[in-house]
Amino acid sequence: MLAFAGCIGGGSDGDDGGGGGGIGADSVMIPGIYDESGATSDVGRPTAIGSRDTITYINENGLLDASIDHPNNDYAYEVPQAQQYYQQYTSDSSPPLIIGWGTADTEALAGTVAEDEVVYVSASYSANLVTEEFPYNFFGNLDYTSQARAHLRWIADNDPEATVGFIFSNTAFGRSPVEGGKEYAEELGLDVAPDINLPLTANSATTQLRQARDQDIDYLIHQNTSAPMRVLLEDRQDIYPELTVCGLTYTVDERVVQQSPDIFEGVRYVNAFRTFQGALDSGGRGADIIEANFEREGRSMDDPEVAQLNYVRGVIHALLMLKGIQNAAEAGNDPTSGPNVRQGMFGIEDDNMFDLAEPFSFAEDDRRPTMNGRLFEVTDGSLSFDTTVELPRRDSWIGL
């Protein structure tokens, strides 16, 4: 795939090739490495669709002077496949930015993208990815640990005598929020119970719930995907119905809630962006984009397979790309260059992604987009917004 990086009109600015806000290229290549058939495709597919739809919208509505060329592949959540696609996209050309996906592949590629100076926007919210070690990684959400912190802050405010516990799959993704989360829980004065393991492939959670019950856990913070969440909640009814489960970003979405409203009732959830309906209700430009996408592609707003918060996640990935390129161009830099787009990402300040998310800001020394967690509670088969928790932006939390 070939992208033409031409000269930019207006005043020249050394190697960056110009200024004046134009792009000066026919197209900019922004590849996508998505999971549409692998282990996380239940959430990966709507996210990929959201990104692709929005890139089409950007092209059709001329939001950039150049069109976005978006070759993309399904890597089926296989790290070697992701690495192969990355090589394929970067061997013949130099894309400034790639939209990626999961924790394992993002972390596997993090060193390479830094070396190749390719901005990598992905849906892995591991706090580790915003350390100095990986300067080219960006994401659009609270980091996993801060998602847990937002739940903990709410618990401490509402039930200060509570005992909390962490339940997670024993993977890099699962363990990511545990250490930092427990530290914050102790700081807040909450009792912290020993960890509980729930595999991604669990078919039963009775033992885990007995462990929670016998350790008097009141709130279980769950880092996993929606399939084990359903198993946990199914067994919760019988073993420990008094338990409140607080899920992180991938445990809940509109599809699973609508399929099993009874077992999801009362579950708490955290994210930094809106649900699908919340996005539409915001009435902002993000809502217009989503509505236009659905109309153009003939999608149904009533089909939670796509019309769900993970679609909004994908839209945000495309908007982060858009704004990074726009900012680079407006600064007079060549937006087909990864370092310039990276600088462009730092031009994103207090930007709520067209009303789809909490305000995002990126800085050279702090690439956490936000410290605000939007908390939801499942009631009557839908995700109801509860409150926003504003966490302190502590330097000591970067990477933890």
Binding site: E36, S37, G38, A39, T40, S41, D42, R45, N170, A193, P194, D195, I196, N197, P199, L200, T201, A202, N203, S204, T206, T207, Q208, R210, Q211, D214, Q215, S226, A227, P228, R230, V231, L233, E234, D235, Q237, D238, I239, R255, V256, Q259, S260, I263, E305
Partner: protein, 317 residues
């Protein structure tokens, strides 16, 4: 100090989980017993059974849904049809061929079945119709209880194992199946239709496995691709019980289920027991519950290579 009610509760959960595994394991043993084939598609067949109820009982693929009980029935009947079709189209071609060829075919079959489900639903878990989600607990003596879904699984697994044992020991067809399993050539000389016995074995096996998949899904709120992992767990169970023993597969599955649950509670995390006379908690870390049955499997294989109830074969050199 171990709380005995908790211990019994966990053991009962293990019993229920083992009973769920048992149906899939018995399907595996049945095929091995009659045809000598190790069916590595067993997990995928269970998964297809689980999703079958979603296909027929919810309007996610078909334009309309049928009642939940009918969806279960149709799925099990389709298991029968699939068994017949597989025997006629695929496995009949491999009679007399090396067992390894058939094993490879089962691996391919597993991939095809997995592909069909992924095509229809991706990796998405799908909720079951409300009528099939068995909530609640069944109270038992000594203050113990078992989940309703597990109690149903235990009852159905016991019925299936009893019916299969009676079938093999008390019916002519069962005797024919045993005869052909014991010596295919001799059975053929006596006029036994090998094709028919193999077709019957596949039919029964797939129907029982599909039922196991459905019960697994019922106990966890719906069909999920994780059900195919059962194919690995039941392998441990059948080797433990003896590959060609149906009661052995049942007992092996129960042992695996109970060990898995007890190991996950007493040897992992904050509820791990303390080593006697020390202040050291026997916490072996996440996932040890799943490893514990495999450790026992290793010990059993070392002591009894044919499993607890398997047929010991002595060959003259």
């Amino acid at each position: 100090m171990v709380n005995w009610v908790t211990f019994l509760d966990i053991s009962l959960s293990g019993l229920g989980l083992g009973a769920l595994y048992a149906l899939v394991a018995m399907g595996f043993s049945l095929i091995y017993k009659v045809t000598g084939v190790l069916n590595f598609a067993q997990g995928q067949i269970a998964m297809v059974g689980a999703y079958g109820v979603v296909i027929f009982g919810t309007a996610t693929v078909l334009p309309a849904a049928i009642p939940a009980w009918a969806a279960v029935l149709v799925t099990v009947l389709l298991g029968v049809v699939l068994g017949l079709a597989l025997e006629r189209v695929v496995f009949r071609q491999f009679i007399g061929e090396p067992v390894l060829s058939v094993i490879i075919v089962t691996l391919a079959l597993g991939s095809i079945l997995e592909g069909v489900i992924f095509f229809l639903y991706g990796q998405n878990a799908q909720a079951y119709p409300g009528a099939l989600t068995l909530g609640g607990q069944l109270s038992l003596p000594l203050g113990t209880s078992i989940q309703a879904a597990y109690a149903v699984a235990v009852a159905i697994a016991l019925i299936v194992v009893a019916v299969l044992m009676l079938f093999f020991r008390q019916t002519v067809t069962g005797s024919i199946l045993r005869a052909s399993a014991s010596d295919e050539q001799a059975a053929m000389v006596l006029g036994v239709s090998i094709e028919r016995t193999i077709a019957l074995a596949w039919t029964l096996s797939i129907a029982i496995t599909a039922l196991g998949g459905i019960l697994l899904a019922t106990s966890s709120g719906g069909a999920a691709v994780s059900i195919e992992n059962t194919g690995i767990i039941i392998f441990a169970a059948v080797v433990l019980g003896g590959l060609d023993s149906i009661p052995g597969a049942f007992i092996g599955s129960i042992v695996v289920g109970v060990l898995q649950e007890l190991g996950s509670y007493y040897l992992v995390g904050g509820t791990a027991v303390y080593v006697p006379f020390t202040n050291i908690q026997a916490n072996f870390g996440a996932g040890f519950g799943e490893i514990l049955p495999l450790i026992l499997l290793l010990v059993v294989i070392l002591v009894k290579p044919y499993g607890l109830f398997g047929t010991e074969r002595i060959e003259r050199l």
